[in-house]
Symmetry: C2
Subunit: 639 residues, 2 copies
């Protein structure tokens, strides 16, 4: 379909194409995980990482080997998901996390000493945050970095087995240095989690004294990445090892930070994680494209059963059920593609400019990244699973690549932030915003709320009542029984439903939280009682944002075939989303039974409309050929 | 919980315990797939298969090395899923499929020649049904077996690439003989698919002349099973190679069968597959138990976040969302356990007795097996996925075993019959039953309907009207708005809702099919338009059967703690099932909005009630220790 791929590629087409060419030139990596023993696979991934580092480093400042092109960097990175995902994840560890920590948390001293080497793949590093006992709750990490004024050094230590650094990429084999997150103790006082650069291996690859490195061993997937464990036994590093952009320790052991509030300081530092979340979400969406390109081509060639007496069996993709399984997921992949493009643009606006972005903008971006990551990665898990099943036994064979896609992407739902925790973050941000609009703002309390999962949120009753009334006016017509089909393909109708749902859920959560607190219940218990409601509200918000991103993309698309196809896909996505949550709309009087059934019928009809274009719609993703030309879709195999 | 494990083990406790002991004695197999190269792993699985063959063969007649205990055989087989799943699948191929084909499709001649060797693991065999071009549609297989009266032989041949036998267990390395499904051609006339025994390797393991064997290579999981491909080039076997229980060819080339109708003959022969489906469903349910035992123990020991200011973080399993993710799946696992026990009992009744069961009973059993297999295997995929995510990064490491459970069980949803095809089979059986009750029965047409996915089903309008009226009386009270909580834990209420749904959906499908046919539309098109509806109706039926199995099991349980715990789990299962389909009940006026919300609240409350017993409820499964005592749940790792 002329023009569709260009439209999807958007402003960073060049960066995407460079990565596509790189992947096309190295198709040997696609089956390296099957051909090679684990350590050799890891080494081959490393060799390619170094070869492609010039492109991957695109996002770094020019003075340190980069091109200062943040948007191209992110677009190129997510395009890596069209190839072997170990390479993508290893690049994420090296360039996104390790070099990113140096760039964002360090100062000129660190940039000059390490950045060029990190960006060009000479200095391989780890991002040593997660511990055996602490994943999502980073504030509770056990590793300590204690300042010793006698020597002017920090002593990095693992005080308990639970404080062991775990699942750390590059730790088992290749990493020479680690960005270590630890409780900073200065003058006997703990200042919370900070990041220090700690050498872990010498030039020969041997662990340095006091550093114990072990291999996490085989994993479900991503076996080209050398995840390992790090234990520190009183390891000494100079004072300058502290990445000191947001907090400094002077030679005499005086701690200083421009951000006075410890929670706010912590979350500012953690904000560097946002790039990782943007990247993982994008990679997940792109991995879904690969799986759909494979499964839809297979379904467009494979025949099974058919009309009795007919000479030929029926193509799988002509079955209603097969369309139902794959095409709404294709539509949602498009929706998420556009939502991700919006996120990248916003990321570039916030982090790519010269001016430091304000707290509010950064928080909003963090929530958007968290939400897109959660929904995008769950989408990948669901989509690749459906694709595997839709290809039957053939889909189970490694040679057809769905196995690797499934296994490699599976961890995306829990790394760079567990999805349920991320959706809580989204919802809490919204509740805070809610409160900012309607109640009295207490900045300290707000930060504490987000930080510690506290639930002292309180929406004034009057504000709540205003909100509910405003909602009542905004919702679509309830008298839909008279004509169940009316307006079902109307953008404003879809957006209205999703907005109503989001706002109603948030108001409901706020009311439950306030009610519990008012009744004197223990805040954590109050929160926990409606945790599922909180997470559902976060999800409702993301669904609405994704829907609107797709709407905007359709409106901005070139008139003609491109826009027509996108509008069809958009309608399918919108109605399938409403259909999936129709229980909620029915419960809340926003859909009648007949209208709900009409939506299901229309989803079926739209599947049929999209079907003739399905293969072309996957071709527009521009996945390099070798990644999708698997044995089961080579036509000669089936004749 | 005293007595619960015994109650779950039921009448075949001894057979289960023998397999448990065997697995406990061979824990080295649990990580063989990680330790060993693929071929060595396969050989280790084979060695254990032979060692355990005495038990696995329990279900065969005594004169051929078995014990004639069909129920114990099936219970023991599903217990194998507590260990390495490659061993379970390889046992299924060897004993269930290969030896099963000889037993069920062959006659005394075949039994005497091969059965003892097959049952004792000396003669390793394949079940060569699936082809590259044909999986579910077995009737369309391309392989031919042509009788040559000049030599008194059958010539087995692969005429096209699509007719290559594919994904065949035991074919890549160990199999010496294959039960080959082929179009039987006698005197120039094709008589449809029959099964023949064809030697494929000599004593040294070399392929025999005319037989080309290749390896399917690495798979997503089950890499201890040597799946391969078989191509036959005019391979000659004696006339006696035909498994001739249901059809015979004499030396002169006269074909004879007591079952005149070719479709009925075909489906009678295919009925031998029912044991495979019973087994896979049971294995999937047991694999779910292992995953839940791991994830629930992990969640009962792992702490993360918690109330601000409290000394200790909160156990994962005390979070509402974590309970929501795992405990309804625990409840459904119990439900499926009891449904599976019922299925095994019915299987023993039909196949274990001396008398040949009637067509009607066999068809009903086939539908029950197909439905339980579909729902049980999808349940396993969903459950193991949730368990993996609930264990975060730790769940992704191979050492914690969820990775293998996920990868190994994944193919269950599509092998031994693709789940969507199986649910269609269920629904079609019900539509036939429907028609038998209400309309005029045409046996030939009925067989054709099931056979060829034809849709000439027609329910008399009057019969339909009667049905609808009968339903109206049976459904629960619609005036539930006045007291949304009333009777929510009442068994009869749950069963009434599920029955109403099932019958309403079947009636709806029947009406749509009839309407389309009456309007003169092409039958296949009519069927395809409501394929999703057909499959949903099949699912609704299975859900109801599973629910009622759990009800019966609770009623029959020992009074006291066992029954109390089961009743709680049952309520959770029943209400979570209704909640999952509440959109449908709302659409059809069977739930009011307030009552629907009350159900969601009650599911949450029941999760809290089950939570204190959750670990004990997984211990009652009796999974051998090594399978669940993975590093992440050893407490010392976390302190």
């Amino acid at each position: 379909m002329t023009g569709l791929r260009e439209y999807l590629d958007g402003p960073h087409k060049a960066a995407r194409d460079v990565v596509r060419e790189g992947l096309a030139a190295h198709t040997e990596l696609l089956d390296a995980g099957l051909r090679l023993p684990r350590d050799e696979y890891r080494d081959e991934v490393l060799a390619l990482l170094r070869e492609m580092s010039a492109e991957a480093a695109r996002g770094f400042p020019k003075e340190y080997g980069g091109q200062g092109d943040l948007g191209g960097f992110l677009a190129g990175f997510e395009t890596l998901a069209f190839g072997d995902l170990s390479l993508m994840v290893k690049a994420g560890v090296q360039f996104g996390l390790f070099a990113g920590a140096i760039l964002h948390l360090g100062t000129t001293r660190h940039h000059e000493a390490y950045l060029a080497d990190a960006v060009e793949g000479r200095l391989l590093g780890c991002f040593a945050m997660t511990e055996t006992g602490h994943g999502s709750n980073v504030q509770a990490l056990g590793t300590t970095a204690t300042y010793d004024p006698a020597t002017g050094e920090f002593v990095v230590h693992t005080p308990t087995p639970a404080a062991r650094k775990d699942y750390i990429g590059n730790a088992a084999r290749h990493g020479r240095m680690a960005a270590v997150f630890a409780q900073l103790v200065v003058g006997g006082e703990s200042h919370g989690v900070h990041c220090l650069l700690v050498p872990i291996r010498d030039e020969d690859g041997e662990p340095l004294p006091g550093v114990t490195l072990t291999d996490c061993g085989p994993k479900l997937g991503l076996n080209g990445v050398d995840n390992g464990r790090i234990v520190f036994d009183q390891v000494r590093v100079p004072r300058e090892a502290l990445l000191d952009r947001y907090a400094q320790v002077d030679a005499d052991g005086n701690y200083q930070s421009d951000i006075e509030n410890p929670d706010r300081r912590f979350f500012t530092m953690l904000g560097t994680l946002v790039q990782g979340r943007v990247s993982v979400g994008g990679a997940a969406i792109n991995a879904s494209k690969v799986a759909l390109a494979i499964a839809i081509r297979y379904a467009d060639g494979r025949r099974q059963f058919g009309a009795p007496g007919s000479a030929e069996e029926t193509l799988l993709l002509d079955y209603r059920m097969h369309q139902r399984r794959l095409l709404p997921l294709l539509a949602r992949t498009y929706a998420l593609h556009f939502a991700q493009a919006d996120l990248v643009a916003e990321f570039v606006r916030i982090f790519g400019g010269d001016a430091e972005a304000g707290d509010h903008d950064r928080r909003a971006l963090e929530a958007q990244a968290a939400g897109t990551k959660a929904v995008g990665t769950w989408h990948a898990t669901e989509t690749i699973q459906q694709c595997r099943e839709a290809c039957g036994g053939a889909g189970y064979l490694a040679e057809n690549r769905l196995a690797a896609l499934k296994s490699d992407t599976d961890v995306f739902t829990t790394f760079e932030g567990d999805n349920t925790v991320l959706l809580q973050l989204v919802a809490k941000g919204l509740l805070t915003g809610y409160r900012e609009s309607f109640g009295k703002l207490d900045p300290l309390g707000t930060a504490r709320f987000i930080a510690a999962q506290a639930v002292e949120i309180a929406v004034e009753k009057t504000a709540l009542r205003t909100m509910v009334e405003r909602l009542r006016d905004a919702v679509p017509n309830r008298a839909d029984v008279t004509d169940p089909d009316a307006g079902l393909r109307d953008d404003a109708y879809h957006a209205g439903l999703l907005r109503f749902r989001e706002e109603h859920m948030l108001a409901g959560v706020a009311r439950r939280l306030k009610g519990g607190i008012d009744a004197g219940d223990e805040p954590f218990e109050v929160f926990n009682r409606c945790q599922d409601h909180v997470i559902a509200a976060g999800r409702a918000h993301v669904d609405r944002v994704v829907l609107e991103a797709f709407q905007t993309a359709v409106q901005a698309a070139p008139a003609g075939a491109v826009r027509d196809r996108l509008k069809e896909l958009y309608d399918l996505h919108a109605l399938a989303t409403i259909e999936a949550d129709r229980a909620w709309y029915l419960e809340h009087g926003r859909l009648s039974g007949p209208r709900s059934k009409a939506i299901t019928a229309l989803v079926n009809e739209l599947c049929g409309q999209v079907r003739p274009h399905a293969v072309a719609l996957t071709e527009a993703f521009g996945v390099p050929g070798a990644a999708v030309e698997v044995p089961m879709v080579v036509p000669s195999q089936h004749e």
